[in-house]
């Protein structure tokens, strides 16, 4: 009975340690090319890397915000990437003096756990809307991330994320090794009990 209790306690500790709040987004800006009176869509990729289903609040800020439409919230299942469609609409009567380049940001907010100080997790995405035929104007742009210089390892991991293939990192080997060792240990305990 003591061994059984020990196993249950170990399982509880090991599994509870893996429950975390984790939000990810696909790298790179949301870029729209929209003609006057037209619309264009892009997809905002979000991943819930936690263990439970979560609901994320979406909002936009900056000059581009008033031209964007998207759902106010999105539900994310654990370990699944969800693409949310974001549409940019430029009216026919758009003020050309405002320029053919409009910038802003989109935010995906995950509420932290209730407490004296709640700490929220938020992802930020740069947004650029370009209107063909309308001259650009000088304005404070968002700091747009264009091309990252990635190391070989980062490139491999990034390609893995895009293709969906699985790459074992040293951390993965460590966790997998710990899991296998843990399982062997429990088997040993069970076998010993059966023998005794």
């Amino acid at each position: 009975m003591k061994s059984l209790l020990l196993v249950i306690v170990c399982l509880s500790v090991f599994l509870s340690a893996s429950i975390t709040y984790a939000l990810q987004q696909v790298a790179g800006p949301l870029f729209f090319t929209v003609p006057l009176g037209g619309s264009s869509s892009a997809r905002y990729g979000l991943v819930n890397d936690g263990e439970e289903t979560i609901t994320i609040s979406l909002r936009a800020e900056g000059d581009a915000a008033k031209y964007l439409s998207f759902p106010s919230s999105v539900e994310l299942q654990p370990k699944k990437m969800v693409y949310t469609e974001v549409t940019a609409n430029i009216p026919e009567n758009y003020d050309r003096a405002s320029g053919g380049n409009i910038y802003g940001w989109m935010y995906a907010l995950q509420q932290g756990a209730p407490g004296q100080v709640q700490i929220n997790v938020q992802m930020k995405k740069n947004v650029t809307i370009v209107i063909p035929g309308v001259p650009f104007v000088e304005r404070e742009s968002t700091t747009i991330q264009t091309v990252q210089t990635l190391t070989t390892a980062q490139t491999t991991q990034a390609q893995s994320a895009i293709t969906g293939s699985f790459v074992m990192t040293p951390a993965n080997y460590l966790v997998a090794g710990a899991a296998i060792g843990f399982s062997i240990g429990i088997f040993f305990v069970v076998t010993k009990r059966r023998g005794g």
Binding site: M81, G164, V167
Partner: protein, 161 residues
């Protein structure tokens, strides 16, 4: 009982191994579109997502509270910011300033730490490599004359890529 134990063991081992794999492939090929942008994903994990300073008196400074900030994605962040809201009680409209909460990455003296603001401010130089993490320390000092009540605060940590 022994068979059930053995079954639980096998199931737990399988769950642990598969969850590790799924976490790294960004959700599996069926969920990834052809127009996925190059650069992978950047992530933000906070452990924990709430902290507690406990019961404090006027002019008293709290002990150190921490949360671990980690980018669990495959791409580095290009921005990392922190902002907060004023301390407010549930029952009355009286608040005290967000800036009474201080933070840094070393847990130094309250006076040496940075005041939290309602506007975003960079932390960790604004950049966090993939799979990198650091500890964020918080301390609170209660201003003189604050009405006794149970106050709460919301802090938001924002990551971009």
């Amino acid at each position: 009982m022994k068979k059930i134990l053995a079954l639980i063991t096998v199931l737990v081992a399988m769950q642990l191994i598969t969850s590790t794999a799924i976490a790294d492939n960004g959700g599996g090929p069926s969920d990834l579109g052809l127009d996925t942008q190059v650069g992978g994903v950047c992530g933000l994990v906070l452990t924990p997502t709430s902290v507690h300073f406990g019961l404090l008196q006027q002019d008293q400074t709290s002990g150190d509270q921490t949360t671990i900030v980690k980018n669990d994605g495959t791409a580095p962040t290009t921005s990392l910011e922190i902002q907060g809201a004023d301390w407010s009680p549930a029952s009355t409209p009286v608040t005290f300033p967000v800036s009474t909460t201080h933070y840094d990455e070393s847990g130094s003296d309250y006076g040496s730490m940075t005041s939290l603001l309602t506007t975003p401010n960079p932390i960790h130089g604004g950049v966090l490599g993939n799979q990198a993490s650091f500890t964020l320390h918080f301390k609170l000092s209660i201003p003189h004359g604050v009405t006794a009540a149970a106050y709460t605060q919301t802090i938001t940590i924002t990551s971009g890529c």
